[in-house]
Structure formats: structure tokens, C-alpha cells
């Protein structure tokens, strides 16, 4: 168990050491893939991070020739049971004196491998598990390889049901893709298929369709080795093989939906996404999960400004290719009916929404500009982006305000879920918006309000009544300016209520608990009149300070990088899809 835990950790951390050069030089091996010579490293890291000989499949990937596979996954232990990655190959021929046989021109003669009992038939090797050797020749494009793949696909399709019109995996199904690329055009199958139970609920979020399973055992290996919960296994024999859970023990841990990503066919499907939308209609936007401090990279699948699902994105430094279930399903609140969509407020009388934003921003800027030093306090949220915290800090410096944010700690596990439920606590700290410990100044702010020294309070994204500033304190304030996305006790008492955006509705960057700065893109439009908080703050800072040095998010990030020391040298355009490390 302890060994498994260590192995899991290595899956995430292996890439962190990848950047560091190994002290001895990397040994390279020369081989030929489809006639083209490539040089590949002799040893590579496996799913746990241990060095072991490079496999033929990895060599083909380096050479640019993808070998089709079902059961192989770079973050899972090798099984070798699907046989889809069979390729024809040849080894340098050895003479009886254990010296290589040479051709006429002096090059080493390479003999294609043949079946020992019938030398007229080629022998394939599964590329995912066979290590390379110097002088080897791999033929992923030869006729023999093609026939091997056609044969494997024909066998897989024997009992596979004709479910494509109703199967959720259509459009991202490996069986479909390989059938088109490598399969036969006509079927020879006339017998009745084997039927197995369909749409079985094996867990609270997973449905199993046993007929569609191709028995690659990716789900079994993931649940056992990565999630640490040995819940799935294969029962029965031969054509009746089925994936099953233990009787009475549902498949229920916080990582079950990763098996849905892993399953190459539509056997394991998400109950939440079942029949929701065809995947080819979904627009996929790169974003970050904001349910905890880990900041798993996600792809937001949306259509017509409505989010349909979250999917993990590969980032070896943060989450490999995994994501926890609670974060994955945490998108439904974004389309809640009670989202704040209009600029309102107790003191705000503007009824016509066309003029609401400019008027509100003007009034707020006047309040901040005319406030005396020390009479303003700002409570931001560690769910805001770096850029927004930076702008709030600017306002705080200008008005001499006390600033703080609110801590949010919960239960983490030892895999992906962090115990810090705020996605950007480090951003708070690095922009100096709050101290190393979030929330210490809140009592000072509360006292300031009680002593009537603090008359104006800006609240961005938090419900301060739950953080130590009670409702009667809020009522004591002269001006309460709030920006949030959902209504709560604080928003009800706001003098100016500015509707904000969720992370999927704006662009920005956040820093996870390990110090990785990651940027995310806008997936859907904000509802109603809601605006991104950085756009709101841009206008307020422009009015208060007289000018701003940016108009777009790129300009804002570059300006922030110039002023905040740990971001020195970074540029929005240079961050990339997997983020950069900063010093925390």
C-alpha cells in the first residue's frame, strides 16, 4: 500500500524532475522506423517514473508514426492484452559466430521476424511492451502490420453492439477512429452476437455497458494503481468476459470519472454527461479547475454559451491526465438561475441598464478618490485571478486601505485534491494582497469598522458575514461596494452591487499551491450585464489614478509582471498551455 502511494506520487512528480538534466549523458540508440533512421534514448521513464528500456511504441512516437493502441496509456502500467499495437519488425541478423551478418555494402543485414513454426508468416510484436534494440527496424506501415490491425479490429467488432447512434463516445471513440483508419471495409460476421447487460449503474456517477467493453483493462489498472481503490475486475470467461465490481460495493471514489476518459469505447460513461450533447458540437476551451488549490488543467466543453462538461487536460507538472470527480462536476452553479446579472444596489437608483455600468463606476471611483486615507478597506477573494488582485492592491495602495482575503480550508487527499480550497491563495500572497496566512487582518478590519474609522468597504467575491464581519457592522458602513457572482448576505446589503464572472467567463492567470502560474481562456459569455472583475477594476483604477497602462488582459499581465517581483520576465504570450513555475 505504501509502495502504491509512493508510485502514485511519482506519477505527478516525475515531470517535475524531467526538466533537471540527468547527470550522466543520455544514451541513444539508432533504429529505423519505416525506413527512416531515428535516434531515440535507450531508457525512458515508465508510469511510475522509473527508468526502463524504451519501448517500440515510444520509439515510433518519437519518429512521428503513431501506433494504434487501446490498453497502453503512458500513465498506467503496461498490460499488453489488446494486441492492437502489433507491428512487424526486424532484428539485425546474427551469424553463428555471434557477429552481425553484413550485406554486400557493409551495412548490417536486418531480418524481419518470422513465426518460429511457419517462417512464411511474419511475427508481430506488441509495440507497447517490447523494448528496442540497436539496429532494429520497425515497420508500422507494412502490409503485414496492416493485416494484423485489421484482424484485431475484426475480432473486437465481433460482439461489439451497433450502438454508435446512441453511444456517448461517438466522435471520440478509438474503435471508430481505428476502424476507419485501419479496419476492414466489409464485415464477414453473420452469427448472433453475445449480449451482455447494458446501462448498468456500477457507481453513483458511472454507467457500464458491458457489450461495448473491449477488455483493455485500463479502468481496472487505473482504479487499482492510481486511485488506490481496487474496485473493478473482469469476471467470466471467453466471449462472456465482463467488467464488474464486487457485489454490494459500488464503484465509488473521488476519481471514478477518469475511467470514463480512459475507456477507449463507450463502455464506461458518465451519468452526468449521458445523452447531453454530441462531442463534435462542443467547443473546447483550455481552462483551470477552481475547486481547490491544485489547479488541474481542464478543457471546458461548451455549446451555445452553455457548459456541458469539464475534461482534464494533460499537464505533467500538475495533474498528469487526471482530475477529481468533485471538481469535474462543479460546473452546474455557473448556469444557476439566481446568478447576479444586473448592476443594482441600495443607493443605486439607475433604472435604465444601458447607463448603469458607467454611472456606477463613476460614483464608485469618486467615493474612492475622495475617501480619506485609512477609511477604506478591501476584502478580496483568493478565487480572483492574479490580475484582479494586483489591481485591487493598486487601489489599496492609493487609498491606504487595509486588505485581506478569506481562507478556505477543507479536506484534501494525497493525490490531486488539495486541502486549500481557494485556487489562488499564492496569487494573493505574491501580489502582496494578503499575508502568508489569509484572513489575519479581517479582525482588524472589523475593529476599524466598529470604531467608525473604516467607512468604505470593497468586497470582491466573498461573503464577509461568514468571515468575521457581521451584518450590523456592514450596516454601519457608509459605502459597501460588492462584486460577486451569486447572491448572499453581503450582496443583499450592498450599496453598489456589481455582477462578476466565473473563471470560465473571463481570461486571467492563477497560481496553484505548488507555485505554478497557469493561464486560462474564456469559454462562455457572462450572463446578462455581468463583467469580468478585471475590466471593472480597470475602469475604477483609470478614474482614480487618472490613467492605466493597459487595455487588454495581455497588457495587464505584462504590466503586472513588470511590477510584481516574482513574475519578473514573464509575458502573457510566453506562458504556454502548461504554465510556468514561479517562486512562492
Amino acid at each position: 500500500m505504501a509502495a502504491k502511494k509512493a508510485a502514485k506520487k511519482k506519477t505527478i512528480e516525475k515531470a517535475e524532475t524531467a526538466g533537471v538534466a540527468d547527470a550522466p549523458p543520455i544514451e541513444m540508440v539508432k533504429l529505423k522506423v519505416d525506413g527512416v533512421e531515428v535516434e531515440v534514448p535507450k531508457m525512458s521513464r515508465d508510469w511510475e517514473g522509473n527508468l526502463r528500456p524504451t519501448t517500440m511504441l515510444e520509439a515510433c512516437q518519437i519518429a512521428g508514426r503513431e501506433v494504434p493502441h487501446y490498453c497502453y496509456h503512458k500513465n498506467l502500467p503496461v498490460a499488453g492484452n489488446c494486441r492492437m499495437c502489433l507491428v512487424e519488425f526486424g532484428m539485425p541478423m546474427m551469424g553463428p559466430d555471434r557477429k552481425p551478418v553484413l550485406n554486400e555494402d557493409g551495412s548490417v543485414k536486418v531480418a524481419p521476424m518470422r513465426l518460429p513454426y511457419d517462417p512464411s508468416l511474419p511475427r508481430g510484436a506488441i509495440a507497447c511492451a517490447t523494448p528496442i534494440a540497436p539496429g532494429m527496424e520497425i515497420y508500422p506501415g507494412s502490409d503485414a502490420t496492416r493485416q494484423m490491425r485489421e484482424g484485431v479490429l475484426e475480432s473486437l467488432l465481433i460482439n461489439h453492439p451497433l450502438d454508435c447512434p446512441i453511444c456517448d463516445q461517438a466522435g471520440e471513440c478509438k474503435l471508430q477512429e481505428y476502424s476507419i483508419e485501419h479496419g476492414q471495409a466489409e464485415s464477414r460476421f453473420v452469427e448472433p452476437k453475445v449480449h451482455k447487460p447494458k446501462a448498468q449503474e456500477i457507481g453513483p456517477r458511472i454507467l457500464l455497458d458491458a457489450e461495448r467493453c473491449v477488455l483493455c483493462t485500463r479502468c481496472v489498472r487505473f482504479t487499482r494503481d492510481i486511485a488506490g481503490d481496487d474496485a473493478l475486475g473482469i469476471v467470466n470467461r471467453g466471449s462472456y468476459n465482463t467488467i464488474a465490481t464486487f457485489p454490494g460495493q459500488p464503484f465509488d471514489n473521488n476519481y471514478t470519472l477518469n475511467t470514463v476518459d480512459l475507456c477507449p469505447v463507450g463502455a464506461l460513461t458518465s451519468k452526468d454527461f449521458r445523452f447531453q450533447m454530441r462531442v463534435w458540437f462542443l467547443k473546447e476551451t483550455k481552462s483551470i479547475c477552481t475547486s481547490c488549490g491544485t489547479g488541474c488543467n481542464i478543457l471546458v466543453g461548451s455549446r451555445e454559451e452553455k457548459i456541458r462538461r469539464f475534461e482534464p487536460r494533460e499537464n505533467d507538472a500538475v495533474n498528469a491526465t487526471w482530475m477529481c470527480d468533485s471538481g469535474r462536476l462543479n460546473y452546474k452553479w455557473i448556469h444557476r438561475e439566481d446568478r447576479l446579472t444586473r448592476v443594482t444596489g441600495k443607493r443605486f437608483t439607475e433604472r435604465n441598464q444601458l447607463g448603469a455600468w458607467p454611472l456606477a463606476l463613476k460614483e464608485i471611483s469618486e467615493i474612492l478618490r475622495d475617501a480619506e486615507k485609512g477609511s477604506v478597506a478591501i476584502i478580496g477573494s483568493a478565487r480572483l485571478t492574479n490580475e484582479e488582485l494586483y489591481l485591487l492592491k493598486k487601489l489599496a495602495d492609493r487609498t491606504g486601505a487595509l486588505t485581506d482575503s478569506v481562507a478556505n480550508l477543507g479536506e484534501g487527499d494525497d493525490f490531486l485534491v488539495s486541502d486549500d480550497k481557494n485556487p489562488n491563495s499564492n496569487g494573493c500572497r505574491l501580489t502582496k494582497f494578503c499575508n502568508t496566512e489569509l484572513g489575519i487582518h479581517t479582525t482588524k478590519i472589523a475593529e476599524g469598522i466598529r470604531a467608525n474609522k473604516i467607512k468604505t468597504l470593497l468586497v470582491f467575491g466573498e461573503d464577509v458575514t461568514k468571515a468575521g464581519i457581521s451584518t450590523d457592522l456592514l450596516d454601519q458602513l457608509t459605502h459597501l461596494i460588492v462584486s460577486d457572482v451569486l447572491p448572499n448576505d453581503t450582496t443583499q446589503r450592498a450599496d453598489y452591487l456589481l455582477p462578476g464572472c466565473a473563471v470560465v467567463e473571463k481570461r486571467g492567470s492563477m497560481i496553484n499551491v505548488k507555485g505554478r502560474l497557469q493561464k486560462f481562456m474564456k469559454a462562455v459569455e457572462a450572463p446578462g450585464d455581468a463583467r469580468a472583475e478585471w475590466e471593472i477594476l480597470r475602469e475604477i483604477v483609470r478614474e482614480v489614478e487618472g490613467r492605466v497602462g493597459f487595455e487588454t488582459i495581455e497588457g495587464l499581465f505584462n504590466q503586472m509582471a513588470g511590477e510584481v517581483v516574482p513574475f519578473d520576465g514573464l509575458e502573457w504570450a510566453s506562458i504556454g498551455d502548461t504554465g510556468v513555475e514561479v517562486e512562492i
Partner: protein
């Protein structure tokens, strides 16, 4: 390329033969029409148009001979439709189950905007369930744009029954039931 121009004689150059020839042709047509020998006009509303086989009229959803909807909401027609006339709402995880045993999926709402439809027939060609067919209806009228967006009810009622003997889902169900008792209970 050289076109040879015929040399015209004196009479031809006065264009008189051409004129007379024209007079003859038009007179012939006039007399043929008036005496009823040649009538090509179809008096439309009274004489209905008979469409040829394979005519591409309006697309409608069909039911099978047991009265079940054949469409399983695979959304291929929505994807292939060139003017994006089809709009399908899939049932989602909490939607209504299919009215057909074993099919599992049925569209919650199926709209075709007849004003956008170009009657190309791609939806019929791509449908894997033979659920949508372009039938003989060519004159579609409505009093408003909203009226011309046909919903699932209307499409099914106009589509009629498809007499194909292939009933895929039922065949699968029968095959499954005919199998020996399966070792793991469903």
C-alpha cells in the same frame, strides 16, 4: 476557329424569307394551341402535380410499423445539415426514456426550420436509423416564421409509417432474450 459565313442571295438579304419563316412558325404554334392539339400548361391547383419517384420534398420523421419513433437522437443530421435547419435537444441524463424498448435514446425535441431547409437530402442519407425521409410534400406555407419551424410532433404526424422490415433494436432484444441464461445478472 473560322466560322464560314454563308453568302446570302438577294432575297435572303432583304430578310423577307426570314420574316416569312418566322410568321409560319408562330402561326403554327398559335393554331396548334387554339385548336387544342398542344397544351403544355398545367392548371395547377386543379390539376395536382405528380412528383417523380425519389423526389426530394420536405423532410419528415417516420415511425416504424409498431408505431415507435425511429429517431434515436444521434444528431448526425443536425451536424451534416448544410444550412443548419435541424435543431435537436438530446434527452440529457434526466430526459424521457425512449418509447421503444431497448433503444435507450430518443430526442427530447426535434425541430426543423422549413424556411432554412434546402431539401438536399443529406439528413436522409446520413441517418443510421432510417428515421428521416424526404417525402413528397413540396408546397409548405405558413403565416409566420415561427409557424414554419416544425417540431417533433408535427414532423412525426406528417411523416407516416416506414414499412421497412429491419427493426434493429427489437432484433437485438430478441437475440438477447434468446441467448442462454447469462452468467452475470443484469
Amino acid at each position: 476557329m473560322i466560322v464560314d459565313r454563308k453568302e446570302l442571295n438577294f432575297w435572303e438579304r432583304t430578310y423577307a424569307p426570314a420574316l416569312l419563316g418566322g410568321l409560319k412558325v408562330t402561326l403554327r404554334h398559335f393554331i396548334d394551341h387554339v385548336t387544342g392539339r398542344k397544351k403544355v400548361t398545367q392548371q395547377y391547383p386543379e390539376e395536382p402535380t405528380v412528383v417523380p419517384e425519389g423526389y426530394r420534398g420536405a423532410p419528415y420523421l417516420v415511425k416504424d410499423t409498431d408505431g415507435n419513433t425511429k429517431c434515436v437522437s444521434c444528431q448526425l443530421c443536425e451536424f451534416v445539415c448544410p444550412p443548419k435547419a435541424i435543431k435537436i435537444t438530446p434527452p440529457g441524463p434526466d430526459g424521457k426514456p425512449a418509447d421503444r424498448a431497448n433503444a435507450e435514446k430518443m430526442p427530447e425535441e426535434f425541430e426543423i426550420n422549413m424556411l432554412r431547409c434546402i431539401f438536399c437530402g443529406f439528413c436522409q442519407e446520413v441517418c443510421p436509423e432510417e428515421a428521416i425521409f424526404l417525402q413528397n410534400d413540396f408546397s409548405l406555407t405558413g403565416l409566420s416564421r415561427a409557424e414554419m419551424i416544425y417540431d417533433k410532433e408535427k414532423l412525426l404526424s406528417l411523416g407516416g409509417v416506414n414499412k421497412s422490415p429491419i427493426k434493429k433494436w427489437e432484433h437485438k432484444k430478441k437475440e438477447a432474450e434468446a441467448q442462454d441464461s447469462f452468467p452475470v445478472k443484469a
